[in-house]
């Protein structure tokens, strides 16, 4: 799981049975003590593998929306929730977005940054095995994480970035990478039967499109997953077209693409890919 704190922006991403939405009210209150008012909110997730294990308010998307509606202030008047489906019944993308009047007016001034969220399942068993700690390895979470970053090739995804990594015991891995005002993050649950890895990064519409293609290629190659879903969030660009250019050369077949628009957030494009053998 990861937390990113910018001067006027917070991003928090958590897995397992964490109750993420319970952070909304205390974060708004803390920001208020700094003289800051909330002006937009975006909540996203894929389909849980074990939905029945999720505690309130994550018991269903409907419950999550009700919780969000009840815990956001009234100035975030423009609200929308939607589920973007795919051809794979186990993969859909849940999005809730809310913003105030000023953000609606700013929609005519596109944000240069876009966000790409990649979810990967059915990881290659050999590659997933690299995210298990060796018994009595004499390492702590930081040093074991550093070793995993190196041997898996994660460190090569963006060699210029500063990486903060951690290996969990007996398995699992998280890393945040930072470079200038951009972040990327990887989280891995390697256990066979419910293996999962995510990659998320931020890009700019002014970047060379080949850069994001190469980054996505490198990130997916670390895991060689059976299924990949990619959500691209942007306000004024067609960066989502780069996604297939990155994923398909890795032997994966494009399965579906859905799109929707949200207040403040802009457009969200959800694409899925599976290995050709499926």
């Amino acid at each position: 799981s990861s937390l990113f704190v910018y001067p006027t922006k917070i991003i928090i991403k958590t897995c397992g049975t964490t109750q993420l939405l319970k952070s909304i009210r205390p974060l708004i209150q803390l920001a208020c003590t700094m003289g800051l008012m909330i002006c937009s909110c975006r909540y996203t997730r894929g389909n849980f593998i074990f939905p029945k294990a999720q505690p309130y308010p994550h018991t269903s998307f409907k419950e999550e929306i009700i919780f969000l509606e009840n815990n956001l202030p009234n100035n975030l008047y423009y609200r929308k929730a939607s589920v973007l489906p795919s051809k794979l019944s186990s993969h859909s993308w849940h999005v809730f977005s809310a913003c105030d009047e000023s953000h609606i007016l700013m929609q005519n001034m596109p944000d240069e940054l876009y966000t790409i969220e990649v979810c990967m399942t059915e990881l290659d068993r050999v590659l997933a095995g690299k995210f298990f700690r060796r018994p009595n390895d004499g390492k702590n979470g930081d040093s074991a994480g550093m070793e995993m970053t190196e041997i898996t090739g994660i460190g090569d995804i963006n060699p210029d970035a500063l990486i903060c990594d951690f290996a969990f015991d007996p398995c699992g891995y998280s890393m945040n990478s930072i470079l200038g005002d951009r972040y990327s993050t990887i989280h891995v649950t390697p256990e066979d039967g419910f293996s999962y890895a995510s990659f998320e990064c931020v890009g700019s519409i002014y970047d060379d499109p080949n850069d994001i293609v190469e980054v996505l290629k490198k990130a997916v190659q670390v895991f060689r997953p059976g299924t990949v879903s990619v959500s691209t969030t942007y306000t004024d660009h067609e960066v989502w077209k780069c996604v297939a250019k990155a994923i398909e050369p890795l032997g994966m077949k494009f399965r579906s693409c859905t799109m929707d628009e949200f207040p403040a957030t802009g457009s969200v494009v959800f694409q899925t890919f599976t290995t050709r053998r499926k």
Partner: protein, 64 residues
Amino acid sequence: MAVSGFEGFEKRLELHFFGDDPVIGNMGLRLLDFESLEKVLHAVQCTVVSAVGNHYFDSYVLSE
């Protein structure tokens, strides 16, 4: 699929704020003390296991 196991799929929340105080404007939420952040994370059921920051933002790797 296994009957039960660790849920990998994440929930992601992004909040944006605004303020008029130019002093706060430079650092803003980054001025929040670590103890306050930990209290929020406690409500979520996470803790910080590693951290790094630069001129622009702070990044924390969390448990779970």
